[in-house]
Amino acid sequence: MKLTRRTFGGVVAGAVATTSAPSAYAQGTTIKIGAVNPYSGPMAQYGDELSLCFELATEQANAAGGVLGRKLEIVRASATNAQEGIAAVEQLVGRDKVDVLIGTYVSAISNAASEAALNNGKLYWETNALARDLTDRGLPNYARSGPSSNEFAARSVEGAVKIVAAKLNKTAKDLKVWIEHEDSAYGTSVFKEQDRLFKEAGVTYGVGTHSARAIDLTDSILRAKNAAPDVWMSTGYVGDTNLLLRAARDQGFKPPAIILLGVGDTKETLDALGKEYLEGMLLISYARPDVNEAYSPGAAAFLKLYRDKFKREPIAPQGMNAFVGAKILIEAIAKAGGTEYEKVIKAAASFDKPLGTYEAGYGIKFNEKMQNTRAFPVIAQWQNGQVKAVFPDAAAGGVAIVNIPRA
């Protein structure tokens, strides 16, 4: 092995601080992956879930002998905002001597952390952050393996135009849509693309914006109710989405179809609203681990890995998307033969794998901005208290759409 300055530094640092992990440094062979996520604050649950699934991916790779003859290790750093994102990168690179970085549940954190990573000459591998701008920046050390907010928006428009309109025997031009979104970066990014696509499709729509911190959202529901839409779609977080749905139920607002983006597909919503009310609600979400194996090969293995390790069901489908992302990163490192960002990005860019190669139905083909163009969310539906994929057909595997228009 060539003794670069970095590995030399690692050996020296390891010699100084060997109390915690003597074996790792003694061999000098561990590839350390720094995981930047929020582990406190409102996103804590999801940040933690992502990092757990990064760990699953590295353990799987380690069980198969590691990469380049080296073991992989996830090192966590907590960040709940942009400023802490920078601090987390400095901590991971400066103190923990990680080789590459991975993340992130929140786009604003990814934005700042990835630039800090570039300053430190490290790769920042994105799996979950959605904001489209992240890849549009064209940062040379940045790639996103999962879908962006644009793919979520596009799926929701497909859901309205292809699925709902067909069920209601309407054309796109007759369809009336209400777009509800929360007012932070997440909801706004999704809305921006929905706005563009619906205009393009000639669909008429109304728009409502709300704060995820609001105590009451009945006013938002009444405004939507007045517009009498065929489809009511909402982008929000868990708390505000549940509050909207409860207000809709109280107010007797019954649009023929409801589409929820990103959330609403977990036990948190099931507990809040009950399966009868949720029946037939459409969900734009990452493919779940129990999706049709032909669409998402390896999903069952992931589920087993997860259950064995954590003794519970996955909290949210975001986890498998993180798992796949980490897996693709590991493959890219293997192909690159090292962890320098130029090499890994080049290796990743050379991948060309069709849809349905990985869990969650993904393939790999990065565009020039290093956004994976073969990663899409699916459309799922609440059916009898369970979430079933219904679109695209390959993911549905014969599951039929129910309860549209809503009874």
Binding site: R223, G239, D250
Partner: protein, 296 residues
């Protein structure tokens, strides 16, 4: 016109939520004179207490106050005695201490629950009442009713009972009250305890409306302060009316203007009222001037 009545109903019901949350803060801020940042966290604890009571004992959320309210009263007394009483006369340090308490409480709940959003369900939570063209959820009607009942009961307690009179005496003039032989420390502790217990009660009754998160308390704290100041310090009727006004303002602004602007309108109205009537709508003139440095 139906539309208008509907939004008024929505505003009134929302007002009930604000009144219920603010009535406890009114005691703590109005009598004990502590800007308690952790009040929202007491509401949050009430919600999680309701969830725990349902999980462990199978209690309906509307029975949960039987255990949650006494527990929070005890917690409030302990917080006052151990954390805030030693800081009497250091109002800024008290603010700061309640902020530390807020962080600790919020994150202890986060550590225990890992941030999973719990919901509780009651037999009543799916009932929606039809009143002519209006439709309202029963859970919210219960909150408004409870807020009204609590305001009346607390007003009566403060007016007629001996401890209540002592509390009012302290609120008006602490030094004179002490000279009259009132144990100020003890009454402060009881007031703080009652304020905390009322937050717990609010938490129980609000639990069926929301999906809980450890951070949910923060959503309530600013509106609650607005309600208390708007209504007038130490005035129970004020807190009640203030809650209704804030609820109506928010609902009307949200419906007729834009839901994204309702917070801005709400706090703008608050600031304007405060400037025109610094003592609050039901407060005694001059009350606003005794505050952080009242002991001078």
């Amino acid at each position: 016109m139906t539309e208008f009545f509907n939004i008024i109903a929505v505003g009134l019901l929302l007002g009930g939520i604000y009144s219920l949350v603010a009535v406890g803060l009114n005691l703590i801020f109005g009598v004990v004179r502590i800007v308690n940042f952790a009040q929202g966290e007491f509401v949050m604890l009430g919600m999680y207490g309701t969830f725990a009571a349902q999980m462990a004992l199978g209690f309906d959320p509307y029975i949960a106050p039987v255990i949650v309210v006494p527990l929070l009263f005890a917690l409030g007394c302990a917080v006052y005695w151990l954390l805030l009483r030693p800081l009497q006369g250091e109002p800024m340090m008290q603010v700061f201490a309640t902020f530390g308490l807020l962080m600790a409480l919020e994150n202890v709940v986060l550590a225990v629950t890992r941030g999973v959003g719990y919901s509780v369900n009651s037999a009543l939570s799916q009932v929606s009442i039809k009143l002519g063209p209006l439709q309202i959820g029963l859970t919210r009607v219960i909150v408004l009713t409870a807020a009204t009942a609590v305001a009346i009961a607390l007003g009566w307690y403060l007016k007629t009972s001996l401890p209540g009179k002592a509390i009012r005496a302290i609120a008006q003039d602490r030094r004179a009250a002490r000279l009259m032989g009132i144990n100020v420390d003890r009454m402060y502790m009881i007031s703080f305890g009652i304020g905390t217990a009322l937050a717990g009660l609010a938490g129980c009754l609000l639990a069926p409306l929301y999906t809980m998160s450890p951070q949910i308390g923060a959503n309530f704290i600013m509106p609650a302060f607005a309600v208390v100041v708007l209504g007038g310090l130490g005035s129970v009727a004020g807190a009640y009316a203030g809650g209704i006004i804030v609820g109506l303002t928010e609902a009307l602004a949200g419906y007729y203007l834009d839901p994204a602007l309702k917070q801005a309108v709400l706090f703008m109205v608050f600031i304007i009222v405060l400037l025109v009537r610094p003592q609050g709508l039901f407060g005694i003139a001059g009350a606003e001037e005794v505050g952080l440095r009242e002991e001078h």
